[in-house]
């Protein structure tokens, strides 16, 4: 194999691809990236057996062929090569090493045969559709923080994507929850998505997709089956297994009849929560919110260090209510909201609270209170 290509192109692709490779591997070939030179391009591919990313880079191919070399090392090498340089990749005559040359630098990396490289792409997809990269990114950005990291409830370790019918047509919806809070975001369902099976996309895949979708104008082609998802954007193809589990019937926990409505200036609220929670030293410390006509009092008590109170002017005219929340959860949600005013819909101190942007209804958050 022999190919010549631009360092910039190669680095960009390697940046996408090498992240999939785990730092520590028991199977040696999984530390490697597959390189295949053929017909005017170089295809790079890496996998951790659950997730695979492959990408093509234009190249001048003198001798077609394929091999695998350590991914992180190749990435580091290319990253350190001088900007604007041309990179030549050539396998040695004994097929033991891959030589990489640029300017006066020269590296020889040990290879493993490409025939051993695992392939994840087998299988048919039942649904395929296109969605704007910006839309898909939004679904992920708004819900990712609520994914559970607790591994025994594996079915919560990802984002649940599915379609629902609504008065304004079919919606493509993403939901994530860790059992303490829930985040939901939706966009108009693209044609072809309607009727798709509900799928749970694992956390690591979600993170990688997020990083790939950095050009908002682009489109993303999505193909999926009950067990796999494939996403194509530009030269990149990502294929991932899905979480094999049943996402809980989340609709039941989204409160419908919470009648105490509160409107608060989002940025002010976020800062106030942040300030009062300084006093708490440990995770899981509660902020108490006391609402009464036109005002909200935030209190944190820490017997070790003292207490903090802050008062905000809010729009509230229902019965007074006191309710405690984990301060970190409040901050997370305040961070997620995009409108100037945040809307809280409350029932009582022991029931879920609904939080939304004002005006728009394409995202919503549900938060369970704490008891102190």
């Amino acid at each position: 194999m022999k190919a010549t290509l631009e360092r910039t192109d190669l680095l960009k692709s390697l940046t996408h691809v090498h992240r999939v490779v785990e730092r520590r591997n028991t199977i040696p070939i999984l530390s490697n990236v597959l390189i295949r030179a053929d017909g005017g391009e170089l295809r790079l591919k890496a996998t951790d057996l659950d997730l695979e990313i492959s990408e093509t880079v234009p190249a001048l191919v003198e001798a077609p062929g394929a091999t695998t070399v350590p991914a992180h090392m190749l990435y580091e090498i290319v990253r350190k090569l001088p900007e604007g340089s041309q990179v030549v990749m050539e396998t040695s005559s004994d097929q033991a090493t891959l030589e990489i040359r640029a300017g006066r630098s020269r590296f020889a990396l040990q290879m493993l045969p490409e025939s051993d490289f695992p392939d994840l792409t087998a299988g048919d997809f039942s649904h395929s559709f296109e969605v704007a990269a910006a839309d898909f990114r939004k679904l992920i950005d708004r819900t990712q923080f609520a994914i559970s990291t607790e591994e025994t409830r594996y079915y919560l370790n990802g984002i649940y994507f599915h379609t629902v019918e609504s008065p304004n047509g079919a919606r493509f919806r993403a939901v994530a929850t860790d059992g303490h809070r829930l985040a939901q975001a939706e966009v108009a369902a693209p044609g072809g998505a309607v009727g798709m099976p509900g799928i749970i996309v694992p956390r690591k895949t979600v993170g990688e997709i997020q990083k790939l979708l950095d050009e908002p104008e682009a489109n993303v082609a999505i193909e999926l089956s009950e067990t796999k998802i494939r996403l194509t954007t530009g030269p990149v193809v990502l294929t991932s297994k899905l979480i094999d589990g049943t996402f809980p019937d989340y609709g039941r926990v989204i409160p419908q009849g919470n009648d105490k409505e509160l409107q608060v200036e989002r940025a002010e609220f976020e800062k106030a929560v942040d300030r009062v929670s300084t006093i708490s030293s440990e995770r899981g410390r509660a902020v108490k919110l006391a609402m009464s006509e036109g005002r909200m009092v935030l209190t944190v008590n820490n017997p070790d260090s003292g207490s903090a109170t802050e008062e905000l002017v809010v729009d509230y005219d229902a019965e007074p209510i006191e309710i405690g929340f984990n301060s970190r959860y409040l901050l997370d949600i305040a961070n997620q909201l995009t409108s100037e005013t945040a809307i809280f819909r409350l029932a009582d101190a022991g029931s879920p609270t609904l939080v939304q942007n004002s005006g728009a209804d394409d995202t919503l958050y549900v938060l369970m209170p704490m008891r102190v």
Binding site: S148, E150, R153, T177
Partner: protein, 646 residues
């Protein structure tokens, strides 16, 4: 197939299967019989791990000819008064041991009772009972068991190596000996290199003396006396300091009314008592006696009599956890003395007694650059007047400490530079090490306050390697691991706070349904209020399941099923939800670790002394959260020994 009555021999062999598992079980039964007969000395001889021979001789009451004939019959016992199983005051009561042994081995019993003119003996050979015949024995009883399991070859196959069986016998004898300090025990035979001999101990400290004989004096030095009584149940004995621990639970000895037992409830209570001073995989050493009205305890749970059942297990458990915890708190900052002793062993160069000379510089740090001249065989040197070759003296690590501090202790301050001035450029090597050490001598600038020295942990004198505080006490010196000590202090503070303000709970959006055995469900629901106090709220969810509605906020996004199952197990095992507390404490411990002074931080003298005082004031500060000591003490006497001054 017709139903038939089994023959006596077969019945005995079946029974033997339960009572006699291995040679050690025979020894146990025979020694217990000897104790029941009021023996004051018991001699055990074994060969080939007891497989070929076990002989137990005692000086007890012996048996008459008539009793002897009956003793080897099934269900014959002299011990059950009016057949009251609820009132067992002897070790034996089933009347099963001798016939069982007789059924599977060659058994000979020789005995002499005071009422008889001479001794008698009888032989039972694989169930074949011989005649009672006169014997020359004129005192006590001698029981000899040969060829164990020759009559049941299948059993033979399950025996372990001679060495393993010998060790098991030793364990059994030690266990029983611990409970009977007034009886002399000896154990010998061709299968052991070192015969064991535990002479009878007398006086008020007999028990402690016996414990020393059996477990070694280290344990005695590192044990806390336990004594407590509640509603007629008495707990006495000794429990090891948390810093003196083992990787397994083999050295945990429990006796109920003098009977060695291995009981789940007691083991669980012990674990609970030590839960926050020992890492999960370390085990304390204890010798504990529980004495109570025989009516309050059932020992007839299993033929081997190692399990017991208490009428009021809550009482027993509470008594034990309470008594040990109290002792732990009282022992306060006391740490294991072996720490200091082990340190001394390290310091002793090559283990060679300096007085005998022949020192080859085994201690790398202190090694002189050139060997000591042969003539300098008395290192009882007077630093201010070095004898012999001045160069040799100068180059050794035993340079005199300059000046005479008010306290007689000074911290080395000279550096390699001074040595360089002497012009011994070729031999500066030994100083390199000195230069690299990081003795912070700021504490030394303070005048030594005799008042501070009187405190158990003394007056801080220096900080070494930015982590070890060296303090001077009236009769020695103390070295404190500052990180470990501070971690413990923070942990204790957090735990107090946790207990004081209660535990906040996070309500769950979707209740977690956990499926369990119905008994577990009921156990959990019984304790629902107590669990709720710790932040875990659960309720019944149909048969065989609970729904968890709230979890302790401190645990964050946690494995709820695992937690609930563990707690159900805990309640079943030891009727207390220790694991939930433990987990909360564990979070506290992790936070403590992050919040404590890292090693590597220099402390001002005031800070060091404050740390020492706080350690003295904090219960359980003698070990870190992992059971490692936070400080060790070297007595002046020990240090003097090290230098051959004593």
């Amino acid at each position: 197939m017709a139903v038939r009555q089994l023959s006596e021999t077969v019945i005995n062999r079946i029974a033997a299967g339960e009572v006699i598992e291995r040679p050690a079980s025979v020894v146990k039964e025979l020694v217990e019989n000897a104790l029941d007969a009021g023996a004051s000395r018991i001699e055990v001889v074994t060969a080939a791990g007891g497989k070929t021979l076990m002989r137990v001789s005692d000086d007890g009451a012996g048996m008459t000819a008539a009793d002897l004939a009956l003793a080897v019959e099934r269900h014959c016992t002299s011990k059950l008064t009016e057949g009251d199983l609820m009132d067992i005051r002897t070790l034996g009561f089933r009347g099963e041991a001798l016939p069982s042994i007789g059924a599977v081995a060659r058994l000979t019993i020789a005995t002499r009772n005071a009422e008889e003119p001479h001794g008698w003996e009888i032989t039972v050979d694989g169930g074949e009972k011989g005649e009672v015949a006169p014997s020359a024995l004129n005192r006590g009883t001698r029981v000899e068991v040969r060829d164990l399991f020759f009559a049941t070859p299948a059993r033979l196959k399950f025996l372990k190596t001679d060495r393993a069986e010998t060790a098991a016998i030793t364990e059994v004898v030690k266990r029983i000996a611990l409970a009977h300090p007034h009886v002399r025990f000896s154990l010998s035979g061709p299968d052991r290199r070192q015969p064991l001999d535990f002479p009878a101990a007398t006086g008020p400290d007999a028990r402690l003396a016996r414990i020393g004989q059996v477990l070694g004096s280290d344990f005695v030095d590192n044990a806390m006396a336990i004594e407590a009584e509640r509603e007629g149940v008495r707990l006495t004995g000794f429990a090891g300091l948390p810093t003196y621990h083992r990787a397994n639970a083999l050295q945990q000895f429990f006796f109920v009314n003098g009977r060695p037992v291995r009981d789940k409830l007691l083991l669980g209570a012990l674990r609970g008592a030590y839960a926050d001073v020992l890492a999960r995989d370390r085990h304390p050493i204890v010798v504990l006696d529980l004495d109570l009205d025989p009516h309050q305890v059932d020992v007839n749970v299993h033929p081997a009599k190692a399990d017991v059942r208490f009428r009021d297990s809550q009482l027993v458990r509470g008594l034990m956890v309470g008594a040990i915890k109290r002792a732990l708190v009282e022992a306060g900052h006391r740490a294991s003395s072996t720490g200091g002793r082990e340190a001394l062993d390290f310091a002793r160069p090559n283990g060679v007694d300096p007085r005998t000379g022949g020192w080859q510089g085994g201690n790398a740090q202190a090694a002189p650059a050139r060997p000591w001249s042969g003539g300098y065989a008395a290192p009882r040197h007077v630093p201010s007047r070095p004898s012999g070759d001045a160069q040799d003296w100068r180059l050794s690590a035993f340079r005199p400490l300059h000046g005479e501090g008010a306290s007689g202790v000074e911290v080395l301050e000279e550096t390699a530079q001074d040595a360089g001035a002497f012009g011994f450029a070729e031999s500066q090597a030994p100083f390199a090490g000195f230069d690299a050490t990081s003795a912070d001598t700021r504490a030394d600038a303070m005048p030594v306050d005799a008042g501070l020295q009187a405190h158990p942990l003394g007056a801080a004198r220096a900080q070494l390697h930015a982590n070890y505080i060296v303090a001077q006490t009236e009769d020695g010196l103390v070295i404190v691991d500052q990180h470990a000590a501070h971690e413990r202090l923070v942990y204790e503070r957090l735990k107090d706070a946790l207990a004081a303000k209660g535990v906040a709970s996070q309500m769950l959006l979707i209740p977690e349904v956990v499926e369990l055995a119905q008994e577990d469900v009921e156990r959990l629901l019984d304790r629902a209020d107590e669990l709720a106090e710790c932040g875990l709220v659960l309720e019944s969810f149909g048969p065989g399941a609970v729904a968890v509605r709230e979890t302790p906020a401190l645990l964050g996004d946690t494995d709820i099923r695992g937690l609930v199952r563990d707690i159900a197990d805990d309640i079943a095992d030891m009727s207390e939800a220790t694991r939930l507390r433990e987990r909360l404490d564990h979070v506290a411990a992790t936070m403590a670790c992050h919040g404590s002074v890292r090693s590597g931080r220099r402390l001002r003298p005031e800070e060091m002394n404050a740390l020492l005082r706080e350690m003295e004031a904090t219960p359980l500060s003698g070990q870190c959260n992992h059971g490692r000591p936070t400080w060790i003490e070297l007595k002046l006497a020990d240090i003097e020994k090290l230098f051959g001054r004593r």
